[in-house]
Amino acid sequence: MVQTMSDPVRAACIRRFPWPFTGDRYAYSANVEPAPGARRTLVGEWGRTILDPDETYAAELAERRDILARDPSRHVELPHMRAASWDALLWGLRELAATDPAMTLDRQGDGHVWTNRRLGTRQAFRYGDDASLPMGPLMFLGSQIQEDIVLLDQREDRLWADAGCVTFASNWSMAFTAGMSFMEIHGPVPRDFADGAIPRAERFLIRLPAGQAYRRINWTSTAGYRLDTALDSYADWGASRARMADCDDFADVFHMRVEVQHLVRLPESGAIVFLIRTYLLPLADILTVPGWRTQFASVLTHLPDDIIQYKGLATLRPRLLAHLG
């Protein structure tokens, strides 16, 4: 989907964009920090809340609904994740209600009532009773928050991605990933094994106490304003990615794709919920912020080859540097 935005929405997107660089170099690390917490950028701010229902809220949720209708495999839930899914739902709705005044979660008898005035949703449910919701609890949460959701079960001193509702994956597939361990999932990531950041991150997550939240940020690129770049829909977007190296309107087509990822230990099931929120910003908008321009140029210049390859920037780097310079 290529989205056309009004000027005020576009301006807000720049202001709220979670710019991923703090210095003029980028290296993989276990870059986790306590969440939430406001982070200033050169032109604005992000990160004040864990969930971020913004100007694109209704449009992104409509898109998720369409994707799930087309391809139900984006939602996976192994049977033992039922308790974790309910735990995630309650945590997520509480968090959303605490973030957006247009939403409330009320106790009513032995159940709850969820009201979302932005979507016109009103839903009563009883905790743990699957029949009380129109869809599974994880799907329902996915219909209310923009974030993609993965649930990790902890056992045998490892983490396993045993459930998820992920429509905006960046070049991976929830259906393929379901049931994999944290280490298996990160198998394709270069360098990390040598530097040990991935195993270290897993140790950290295994020790994460109930109720605590952490976040990290990850960046890559996308052709066009396209949230769904899952491997499952590669046929729809692969070609546009390949064309990017010599398209005419490069500054409008190349998008910086930033994921703000939150990791929270759920209180009741002990599962970890991994939330991925995707933000896209066209190169044309990056060029309007001189400090971002120079930072991005410097990062690209110094990025090691294996990371350049992994992030699919090898053929794009010269063009990018020409625009940024």
């Binding site: 690390s29 276990a30 870059n31 986790v32 920090e33 306590p34 969440a35 939430p36 917490g37 033992h80 994740m81 039922r82 308790a83 974790a84 735990d87 309650l90 905790y127 743990g128 079960d153 056992r155 045998e156 270290r200 991150a201 140790r203 950290f204 020790r207 106490p209 109930a210 109720g211 605590q212 939240a213 952490y214 209180p267 009741e268 099931s269 002990g270 599962a271």
Partner: protein, 315 residues
């Protein structure tokens, strides 16, 4: 920035005699607010005078209005239980947030719970959750001959036919042997109770070929101190001494003394706050440093690591 989960102030609402030697405490937030849900097998760390003891939460972990703990009076113990037995309704206790270290394994097809004496307490929340989520559970519970059974009615209501109460060592040993010999593949074992009972249960399981991943034990008395002993840092460049209290990190103590130092995760994983050129007896608690770096005793992550005595820093 949301600080790590803060402590809870809980008012003793009610005290009940579970048995003549076991006292139950029902606790509610002193400020009238809500309480976090907790995972089955979670415990609460309670400040008992100058000690901190861990007690299993015995109620249902889902959206609780109150917490409940059951405390065995141990005349020969280290004073925590005697202190609690002197507490009266209305008194406010300082507690940590529930900690989860003995949760059921979600993929298990059956859960075999083996308890002795007061070791039954973590299994009450297991049984509550098992009922909610339809998990299959059986309980072997050893109680001294002629002694009252703590939480008997609740156990019967929750576990039904799955509950067996065994009187005396021999009866328990035979029941455990039989259960561990015949349990279907996919069963997980959880044991809590006196050391002798736990050791025999685990030895029997091993003897019958149970892999370690399917055996889970909760030993009492082992509260993992997030904090440590107080120590002193000496800033070499200025000659200043800064005291690091037992409940503060080195990083916090430096910040409180006006010494700025970069940090990110504050959990010993990201490596951002690394300090070099340190000298002293460093107690490493991070996940970042290599064994060689640890052994060198000259660098540390001040967000989690501590020292004994005096630590000298190049500041």
């Amino acid at each position: 920035m949301s600080a790590p989960a803060g402590d809870l102030a809980l008012r003793v609402e009610r005290i009940v005699d579970v048995t003549p030697s076991v006292r139950g405490f029902v606790l509610r937030p002193a400020d009238g607010g809500g309480l976090p849900s907790y995972a089955p097998g979670s415990h609460l760390v309670v400040a008992c005078g100058d000690r901190r003891n861990a007690y299993s939460l015995t109620g249902e972990g889902h959206a609780p209005d109150s917490y409940a703990i059951s405390v065995l009076h141990r005349p020969d113990g280290q004073g925590g239980s005697a202190w609690l037995h002197g507490v009266r309704p209305g008194q406010v206790l300082r507690c940590g947030r529930p900690r989860d270290a003995f949760a059921p394994v979600a993929t298990a097809r059956h859960h075999l719970l083996i308890a002795g004496g007061i070791g039954i307490t973590p299994f009450l929340s297991h049984l509550w959750a098992a009922r909610r989520w339809g998990r299959r559970v059986s309980v072997l519970y050893a109680v001294g001959a002629g002694a009252p059974v703590p939480h008997h009615a609740e156990l019967t209501a929750l576990a039904g036919d799955g509950l067996r109460i065994l009187r005396g060592r021999a009866a328990m040993q035979a029941a455990m042997d039989q259960a561990l010999r015949t349990q279907a593949l996919g069963t997980h074992l959880y044991v809590c109770g006196p050391d002798g009972l736990m050791d025999s249960a685990l030895a029997l399981a091993r003897g019958h070929g149970w892999p370690d991943e399917r055996c889970h034990a909760e030993r009492f008395g082992g509260v993992d101190a997030a904090e440590g002993a107080p120590f002193t840092v000496r800033l070499r460049r200025t000659g200043r001494d800064i005291a690091v209290a037992a409940d503060a990190s080195l990083l916090d103590a430096l910040a409180a003394a006006g010494v700025e130092w970069p940090a990110m995760c504050r959990r010993g994983v990201c490596g951002e706050c690394r300090m070099d050129n340190a000298a002293g007896t460093i107690l490493h608690r991070d996940l970042v440093l290599s064994p060689a770096e640890r052994a060198a005793q000259s660098c540390l992550m001040p967000c989690v690591s501590r020292a004994e005595g005096v630590l000298s820093l190049d500041l």
